[in-house]
């Protein structure tokens, strides 16, 4: 069918399709190709000099080792937390599941730099929270989070929801007969869990691990806040420091470093593919989801434990952040006499940079979300309904900029846009447009996936009916398809907005004066020692994030299952 369906396209359809192909190529293939070329032929001349000097530099390998240590440690922690929680949520009769899932997934939606900042407020000697409770360690003590262990802990907490989400999706698809057959054969519940459920969950678990690995590897916010003060550099922070210290002159060198981190990420993705190909995990029956295991007497203790986890990983750090944002100076204990809104006033009304950052982040995120939805609706149309080999490659290309660490894309964008664009003669470097380009490229797939699942739910004959009524492709897209995938497209737009709004990795490397994002301003407040301002700004971003997440619950019932990660 595919071949002839592609052949059956003509005129306007083909123009639209090729337009999308070119766009995706510009967004994903062009930057990566440019990066690889810079590694091989720095500045345009073929040479192995830069590659050699970077690879023989001990700092490079120290950063690689640190990256691997924190990434693997963080992934391991995330897998332990995420899979235990997923088993409880998906398999047992625990109560208040929706509220719990919302709270547990929340750390994933909060910016990593905010998470890092929040945790720093809880543990250090200047912690407003600990000082309020009189538990702060003596002044001069080093904050224990400024270490590899600290980075591992926070990466684990940040990405545990990723493992949780993939595993829960897998558990949901598990037919209940498989479990019941095991129970009927005389196996106890734990035996069934160990011998039937967990082996069948290998694919989602491996996928979750891979996702977690790649995300941790590319994470900039956490090692930037916790590692740089301890001079513990991982690859993204090394790239940042090199670039910040010496400017664009050092581009070839950071291009090699970016290629290196990209290669490590690809290795992780390929390893996942190989592991899943070795065995057949296909589930052959289809059926309704399994009936939950009854926890009986264990229900209350389990629930207390799970909510205790939420308290520890969500409530405590956010309380710490809030406390810091309300004190006049870092280290001052919070009480009725010291509490103040001055920090909020300062970041919202006085500080020019943070005022601009609000406008920039809102504008960039909203524009990226809008553009991505406009691209995703026709793109998903071709990907889901006109399958062909070329379109599968196109889908892969769209995934790439998000699958690879953000620094890779950022460095590639600098290489592309440093010189003025051919034809137009204008340079995007040092403008807000280079950040915009990266947002659209990187987050395209976040908008595309919900829209694609919206298409999967749609009866194709609805489109065919419009087609025989004489409507061309564009008209069908606007009058029939768009209204029907609108809820999924809205969810996709919100995901893009939230992610872009909380983003730091890309903008930390690409921002210029006047074009700061909120992430950049929080980062520079913290680096400049203004933790109270950083905390106030971070609290504001958390409030915006939370409000937008809650607003989705208004139309969540119209969405395909699994589109909103924070909804059970």
């Amino acid at each position: 069918m595919s071949g002839s369906a592609a052949k059956a396209m003509r005129g306007g359809d083909l123009t639209l399709l090729w337009g999308l192909v070119v766009l995706v190529a510009i967004l994903s293939i062009l930057p990566l190709a440019r990066l690889v070329i810079e590694g091989i032929a720095p500045g345009g001349a073929l040479s192995s000099g830069v590659v050699g000097s970077v690879l023989s530099d001990p700092t490079t390998w120290a950063a690689v080792r640190n990256s691997l240590v924190t990434t693997l440690g963080g992934t391991l922690l995330a897998v332990v937390i995420g899979s235990i929680v997923a088993c409880f949520v998906a398999l047992t009769d625990m109560r208040a599941r929706n509220a719990f899932v919302f709270c547990f997934v929340l750390p994933l939606m909060i910016a990593p730099q905010v998470t890092a900042l929040a945790w720093l407020q809880v543990t250090g000697p200047s912690s407003a929270l600990l000082n309020m409770l009189g538990l702060a360690p003596p002044l001069g003590t080093r904050n224990p989070l400024y270490s590899a262990e600290g980075i591992i802990l926070l990466l684990g907490i940040q990405y545990a929801p990723l493992v949780f989400l993939t595993l829960r999706a897998g558990l949901r698809a598990l037919p209940k007969e498989l479990i019941e057959a095991g129970l009927a054969a005389g196996a106890g519940k734990l035996t069934v869990l160990r011998t039937i459920i967990l082996p069948l969950m290998t694919p989602p678990l491996v996928a979750g691990i891979a996702l977690c690995f790649v995300s941790s590897l590319g994470n900039f916010g956490i090692p930037a806040f916790l590692g740089i003060p301890a001079n513990y550099l991982v690859l993204p922070t090394l790239i940042y420091q090199r670039l910040a210290g010496l400017g664009p002159g050092i581009l070839s060198e950071v291009a090699v470093l970016s290629t290196l981190i990209g290669a490590i990420a690809m290795a992780g993705i390929i390893l996942q593919d190989v592991m899943l190909r070795r065995r057949d995990f296909r589930i052959t029956t289809t059926s309704t989801a399994a009936r939950p295991f009854e926890l009986r007497g264990w229900r209350l203790p389990s629930e207390i434990l799970l909510w205790g986890l939420v308290l520890l990983i969500l409530v405590v750090p956010l309380a710490g952040l809030l406390a810091t944002s309300l004190v006049p100076g870092y280290g001052v204990p919070l009480n009725a006499a010291t509490a103040t809104f001055e920090n909020y006033e300062y970041v919202m009304f006085d500080h020019a940079g943070s005022k601009r950052a609000f406008a920039n982040s809102f504008g960039l995120s909203a524009a990226a979300a809008l553009v991505i939805v406009v691209v995703s609706v026709p793109l998903a149309y071709f990907l889901v309904w006109r399958r062909s080999r070329m379109l599968r490659l196109l889908n892969l290309a769209a995934e790439l900029p998000y699958a690879l660490p953000g620094v890779v894309l950022a460095i590639a964008a600098i290489l592309i846009f440093l010189k003025p664009l051919p034809v137009f003669g204008i340079s995007l470097y040092n403008t807000i447009w280079i950040i915009f380009f990266c947002y659209v490229a990187r987050f395209l797939v976040l908008g595309l996936r919900p829209v694609a699942s919206g298409y999967h739910q749609l009866d194709r004959t609805l489109e065919e009916a419009a087609q025989v009524a004489g409507a061309g492709l564009i008209r069908r897209l606007v009058t029939i398809i768009l209204p029907l995938v609108a809820p999924a497209a809205t969810a996709g737009a919100l995901l893009v907005f939230l992610t872009a709004f909380n983003e730091l990795t890309v903008s930390a490397l690409l921002w210029s004066s006047g074009n700061e994002t909120l992430g950049v301003v929080v980062f520079s407040f913290e680096q400049g020692g203004d933790s109270t301002y950083a905390a106030a700004l971070a609290v504001l971003t958390v409030i915006v994030t939370l409000a937008l997440m809650l607003s989705t619950l208004l139309f969540a019932r119209k969405l395909p299952q699994g589109v909103l990660p924070w909804r059970d």
């Binding site: 002839s4 009866d459 004959t461 025989v468 009524a469």
Partner: protein, 361 residues
């Protein structure tokens, strides 16, 4: 309204041959049913006529225009065909009125003509008062009618119906069958009706095309299909025909011939061209009866009797050929049961044309 010509059309899905050199011609204003078991290629045929796929070989013409060929392909939106889908495919985000008006809007028909034509189409299916409703609030039969109105409002040259009654319950089916028949009478549109239900096809169609495994087996009027099936598959598929081996003499010009089935001499219908020799004969249940006193018949063991209200359905295997089972209806009272031997008289039968001939049908 237009003639539809399907000329040796083939369609492959990978290695699977979904349509194998299918040829048929639908006359202007004709109601043609395409009948076959699921997977026979009937829906694929409809999708080729609508233009959703590109054919691999052959040609489809609407009127004198080639719409599908190996080198050209008119996309569905330019074919002016109407379709009623099995799922109805009503757009849930539009009112009944907007659903019906869509095709006119696309064609650039302006108000007040547009509203007038939508109202007319809705009146035709008896849904004038439902114009402002959402499709989700309608019953199955009403949705069916909206789909019909939507498809007819643009006055398509050809209407394709893909198992339109499959999703309705039994009572509604009979009513909708009547409605389709009346509808076709009034509009005289050329209609192609896909179905797996032979009673539906017989009741509605001017002619029926029987398909199996991607091939057209026979195209004939319902009566010819029943009385003169072209081959064994059609004979068995339509009306539960029984196919028995026979020896036949050459047919006369009236299409009658003498024949012998397992020693029973009888008169059969056949093509005037039928030659003497071995042949297969199609028998219908209504051609069989328990032989009267002194009447010749085929001796058979009763295998099963099923009471069906006023009569029994009787299944019996021939004494001389136990692997051949026949079935017939016997009126009450009937006092034999399984194991008993009865004589079965054969009053009529149709000599199936030799297979080589049937493939050219």
């Amino acid at each position: 309204m237009a003639r539809l010509t399907i000329d040796r059309v083939s369609k492959n899905f990978g290695n699977y041959r979904a349509l194998d050199a299918v040829s048929l011609e639908v006359r202007d204003g004709e109601f043609l049913a395409v009948l076959g078991p699921s997977g026979c290629g009937k829906t694929t045929l409809l999708r080729q006529v609508a233009g959703f796929d590109q054919i691999d070989d052959g040609e489809i013409r609407i009127g004198d225009t080639v719409v599908s060929g190996t080198r050209q392909h008119v996309p569905p939106e330019h074919r002016r065909v109407g379709i009623v889908f099995q799922s109805y495919a009503l757009w849930p985000h539009m009112s009944v009125f907007d659903n019906v008006a869509y095709g006119l809007k696309v064609a650039g028909v302006k108000d007040p003509e547009r509203t007038r034509r939508v109202r007319e189409a809705l009146a035709l299916v008896g849904l004038e008062t439902f114009a402002e409703r959402r499709p989700g609030l309608l019953s199955g039969g009403q949705r069916q009618r909206v789909a019909l109105a939507r498809c007819l409002v643009t006055e398509p040259s050809l209407v394709l119906l893909d198992e339109p009654l499959a999703n309705l319950d039994v009572h509604l089916r009979a009513a909708m069958e009547d409605e389709f028949a009346r509808f076709h009478e009034r509009t005289a549109t050329t209609m192609i009706y896909i179905t797996h239900d032979q009673a539906e096809a017989m009741a509605l169609a001017d002619r029926i095309a029987v398909m199996d495994r991607g091939r057209l087996l026979q195209l004939a009027t319902p009566s010819d299909l029943f009385r003169q099936p072209a081959n064994e598959t059609v004979a068995r598929f339509i009306g539960e025909g029984m196919v028995l081996p026979a020896e036949v003499a050459a047919a006369d010009s009236e299409g009658r011939c003498r024949g012998r089935i397992h020693g029973l001499e009888l008169s059969l219908r056949a093509s005037p061209l039928q030659k003497a020799g071995h042949a297969k004969v199609c028998l219908r249940a209504r051609d069989l009866a328990i032989a009267g006193p002194g009447e010749p018949g085929l001796a058979a063991h009763i295998v099963r009797t099923v009471y069906q209200g006023g009569f029994f359905r009787l299944e019996a295997s021939l004494v001389r050929a136990p692997d051949i089972t026949v079935h017939l209806e016997v009126p009450e009272p009937f006092h034999h049961g399984p194991g008993d031997v009865v004589d079965i008289a054969v009053h009529d039968g149709w000599v199936l044309p030799a297979e080589t001939e049937s493939s050219s049908q």
